[in-house]
Symmetry: C2
């Protein structure tokens, strides 16, 4: 692969420019901002590299589908997304969120780690491989959706209507990071998600808070309702919440034992003294990887500006995300929340469903798993950290496991990439290494498939 | 008084214009918006009417002090404020918050009821009385502060340094309303207030919510802390909170029994089916008038925009106002909250003090009380509803009771004036009646003082 790697190095500036170009295009799905422009850029770049590309309509934002022909025996797909999270709070960014400025070897931009860096690195790998070798040893598909950050609302619809576009022997998933020690992580599954908003309404208008002696306060009601859902010992109290959590196997524990998680660096990074409940070691890792969560992502009621305002709010709402593990079912969890609120006398609290995503896992010994681990060891000089499952969430189940497609996550982010937070960034060197890694997987994966066939 | 009342009617348009002029000047103390302009307008108007006026500096916004000479035996003071609440949420206003437009006999503006309508009505009364009679039967003082809506932060400082400006035989307090039946209310006290903000901090940055499995969530912590402070039966659980609440006397109960509170109209106005705990009748009135509150006025944490964001917040904060009754002490209450949080393991939660106001009451048989009640019956054709205490709050104690000055609240607002809420308004007819009422008090009060002297 030395020839391809050298080509990547020689074209470093070009690949950086590609990434800056796309990062400078805001594409916030939650706000429908710049989505068409971003989709068009991705489509155009695939075409420029000699692939076929088109935008497949959905009821939401289109999926950009790209195809590069090669040896037909094996197909590798890349799942990515062109949408990004909102950039607020903007005032905490040290450079413009859509400036893609490079400082001290890092590029800073909303979406540069999640997930434009990976998307462009994979396209760059295809570009480099074809430029040097002329032909690909497998067929490559790009599935680039525009709704990942808002819960992949129409990805299932896309898959159901375009099954032939999705079929593959393996799929490289959208995200991937180096851990706190600088070792690449490869992860083999994702948590699911049940993201809901609970809305509690009181009077038909905000009013002077002197009325609070006799008029019910929806903020207090929501606080009391939430208090019944999770206790300070971090246990989710929603009846039945843990019923479908798959018990850990011996293999699960082994994988967990082999997984690095740098507690000290993590705590230092976030300015904390300890993890929840003072956990560490295996119990901490087990909670991170194999346990579901119930998280208040946002709470809003009444006057939230500067200074004081003596107001009795007319409404209170909370955004909650439950990260789910196999074999929890997001729709079941949502129904359990409804039943729980009803049982505790909060049947007036409305539930708005935002995201329902199933958890998913891939075996560590699939051909793709082996190709990714082997090549990573070559490129990065050390075996990657194996994460049997990521604590993050994605629509992996609907795109892969449901169709029998193994999927693995590796990418160009790092421990402090600040996904979903101010000053999102990647190291330029990680970006270049990521391009090489994908090029090596393109070479290696068909051979692993052959081994399996034999 | 017929001559004065006729003058008021003939000059209706002039007095309406005065009110529109001042309402069109935003003066939001919480945002330091238009404060100088508003103070200058008040000072200029007092001078225009022949009074002496000046702005007395404080460490905050100045107090506009005005004086009209007259018979020296009696002094009546008016306490008002030129600041207003913020106008948000602006999108719910049907006309511009600072437009002072008149529709269907009402003027709509932020501050028109609270409290510019009363301020200008009182000045108009002085104007009319002097225009017709030439001379005032008492000395009149105007004390117009600029920080009422942010807790009268420097009023005590003003009183301590300007005792001679504050001395009076009685004070007409800033607010006053008609009840749901259209009857004028006169109230003889105010609740106190302990307004605090509780801030709970977690990691040093918002982060991807997948971390919530192992990183503590300040929003959950604040919910758990709040849950220990008030229970769904509306009882405040802060240890010692009720200790200083004065027991009700027979006179208190009598006053309460005579006080109108139209439950049906109140519920209908706010689109509700019932009051807290299903209360009605005397228990409801007792809770409204004589019981302290603990109200969540605002709660903010994490992502509160449209759509969803999977974020683990780094901070959560809640604004709480406790309305206090005699003989609760706001500083003691704040200390109790601190002790409570510490006892329940929330010593990390910071308390920011916003407002500390003592509760206050005036006897129903003071000369001013009798003057207000007698003249109201004449002007409005029916005895006013007596409210032994208002559920609202003001710096009455520091300005009046502490110095032995009786104070009574009457004014030009009504049941649906929407103070502190969108579409604040008063009826023009109530405004004109309010001018006449004050003119009548100016005539009657010195006589009541003479009765007492005899």
């Amino acid at each position: 692969m030395k020839d391809v790697f050298e080509y990547v190095e020689r074209n470093r500036e070009k690949y950086i420019r590609w990434l800056q170009d796309i990062c400078r295009q805001p594409s916030v799905a939650a706000q429908n901002r710049g989505m068409t422009e971003a989709a068009n850029m991705v489509e155009a770049l695939i075409r420029e590299l000699g692939g076929e590309a088109r935008q497949v309509e959905t009821s939401g934002f289109p999926v950009v589908y790209g195809e590069f022909q090669g040896d037909k025996k094996t197909t590798l797909s890349f799942y990515n997304h062109y949408d990004v999270q909102p950039e607020d709070p903007v005032e905490l960014w040290k450079s413009p969120p859509f400036g893609a400025e490079i400082h001290d070897g890092r590029m800073y931009a909303r979406g540069v780690a999640d997930n434009k860096g990976n998307l462009i690195a994979r396209l760059a790998a295809v570009d480099a491989y074809m430029a040097v070798r002329g032909e690909l040893p497998l067929k490559i598909k790009f599935l680039v959706e525009g709704e990942e950050e808002i819960g992949s609302l129409h990805l299932r619809e896309f898959v159901d209507h375009n099954r032939e576009l999705v079929e593959a022997d393996g799929c490289i998933w959208e995200f991937g990071y180096k851990d706190a020690d600088g070792r690449l992580q490869a992860s083999f599954g994702v948590k699911g998600m049940c993201y809901v908003e609970l809305v509690c309404r009181g009077a038909n208008t905000d009013m002077h808070s002197s009325n609070a002696a006799v008029i019910e306060n929806p903020a207090w009601r929501l606080i009391w309702a939430l208090n019944t859902m999770k206790s300070p010992d971090e246990k989710v109290l929603i009846n039945g919440f843990y019923d479908k959590v798959a018990p850990l196997t011996e293999a699960d524990r082994e994988a967990l034992a082999g997984m690095d998680y740098d507690e000290e660096k993590t705590l230092k990074k976030f300015g904390l003294d300890s993890f929840v409940l003072g956990l560490s070691g295996m119990p901490l890792k087990e909670k991170l990887i194999y346990q579901p969560t119930c998280t208040v992502c946002g709470f809003k009621s009444g006057y939230i500006g500067e200074g004081k305002k003596t107001v009795l709010p007319s409404e209170a709402s909370v955004k909650i995300d439950c990260r789910l593990v196999p074999d929890q079912d997001p729709h079941e969890i949502c129904a359990l929340i409804r039943r729980h609120l009803d049982e505790y006398g909060f049947s007036d609290i409305e539930i708005i469903q935002h995201t329902m995503t199933y958890p998913a896992r891939t075996p560590l010994d699939s051909p793709l798993s082996r190709a990714v681990l082997k090549t990573a060891a070559d490129i990065y000089g050390a075996a990657p950290t194996v994460k049997p499952m990521s604590p993050a969430t994605g629509p992996m189940f609907v795109l892969c496991q449901r169709l029998g497609i193994p999927s693995v996550s590796v990418g160009v982010g790092h421990f402090a990439s600040n996904n979903h937070a101010p000053n999102e960034n990647i190291f330029i060197d990680d970006y270049i290494a990521g391009i090489k890694h994908i090029a090596a997987i393109i070479e290696d994966f068909p051979q692993r498939m052959n081994e399996t066939a034999i």
